[in-house]
Amino acid sequence: MNENVNENVNDCDVIVVGGGPAGSCAAIVAARAGLSVVLLERGPFPGSKNMYGGVVYPRILDELIPNWWEEAPIQRWVTRRSTMLLTDTQALTVDFRTEAWGKAPYNGATAYRPDFDHWLASHAEAAGAQLLTSTTVTGLLRDDKGVVVGVTTDRPDGDLRARVVIACDGVNSFLAKQAGLYTHTDVKHFTLGVKETLALPKEVIDERFGVRGREGVDIEIIGCTGGVNGGGFVYTNLDTVAVGVVLKIAKLAGQALRPEQIIATLKAHPAIAPLIEGGEVKEYSAHVIPEAGLAMMPKMISDGMLVAGDAAALCLAAGIWLEGVNFAMASGMYAGEAAVEAVRAGDVSAQGLRGYQRRLSDTFVLQDHRKLRRAPELVLSDRVQHLYPQMVANVVERMFRIDNPQPKPGLRRILKQERKRAGIRRRDLIRDGLTGFRSYG
């Protein structure tokens, strides 16, 4: 060994891998506490590799960036939320709107991830973190006891050493896998999100979606993905509309329709087509989502290393709640806090870093996931996906259909008939209802 190289010399206190929402929040917290932080991003700028459906809930930033809404690069404030159930020819929508979400302190917003993530990373830099872009991390550096002591990168002489490595390297997290924190990877835990961003004049969007100024609409859709289990979405940006689908990968692979064909079917649906008519594709994009919540989460702490964000499968896919960026930002913050504690105490072992686990357990990050642990499977189940939408749509159609001179049939009778017609067993309906009630109630 070269005697000039001292194994104990670190390049910095904390290396954060990945300049997404988790990584930037970890870097902000650690840098503000006075630690030396290097934030590594493989794209040419933070956010350049990142894609999602389109809505972010930044409440968790209140502490980190007070009045974030005055500066965050958002597109529109979501003041209208619709949940839509589609069959080939029918649509049932539950539509909610409130003025409250259109003013401070706001609730959710549509935003482009390259804008939002770039903005958040600028706060990490302002806090003193050193941002290195166009740098792909190729693996972990570990000492002879297996403790993580840094990373290797694709830069010349690109090894970097630190006391703590925080892996925020996204859904594929090769670092968490290399550290042995995932016991296995199962395709059934993942969905593929694909979307088209369609350009339309702002006035046209305002008129079609019934909004003004910076008000925006979030439409979540079930029953629009053909034989593939999943869901769809339509989100309004300022002068584009994002339309896309989330598809269970294992189901997608076993049938004939490709992702872009499933989007095309959704776009052609009579309830969706008028909203997006004339929209030119500005950008097509795709990303994988860790969908299974608690069922797929890895260990998030090892000696010298923490895992946060999508890398730790901290994405909430619970049907009526579809969140990810807020879980990423929170877990990143807590990882940053735990790293600060550990470095100050001089103990960066898994034991010294255990403050991360406590913070995740004490907050919405793991509490929402525990409460909703059965929801992802229920939402993507065959009955919810392929049988219930048709049954519900038929019930509503018959309720509102005037069959004079026939008198109105009772709702109970319609329900029973439509349940039987859809081939749904009563006990399955009751069981799913109970699971839903336990999760959402």
Partner: protein
């Protein structure tokens, strides 16, 4: 959607292509695969069956999403890495 339309759609995304492929597919292994999940699932439609019975992968317009290695059932068929720093897909800022 026709193939021509989809090729146009793919043109809307920006790719800073590195001369070296980040994902390598072993067509010989794919020749034994009967299910070919990757051909349907890749959101960029980059897995192309060949007349010789194998599969060719065009890495240039890859979203780096991971779908292909997740669905692949043939051990060793896909060697998956991220592109070199600064390369690959770049989603647009406004």
């Amino acid at each position: 959607m026709t193939l021509g339309n989809f090729l146009e759609t793919m043109e809307t995304a920006e790719f800073r292509v590195h001369p070296e492929a980040h994902i390598v597919v072993d067509g010989a292994i794919c020749a034994d695969c009967t299910t070919r999940e990757c051909v349907v699932a890749c959101p960029a439609n980059l897995f192309v069956p060949t007349s010789a019975g194998g599969i060719v992968f065009n890495y240039e317009q890859c979203f780096e999403c991971g779908t292909c290695y997740l669905v692949c059932t043939q051990a060793g068929a896909i060697t998956w890495n991220y592109p070199a720093g600064g390369h690959g897909v770049v989603f647009h800022r406004t």
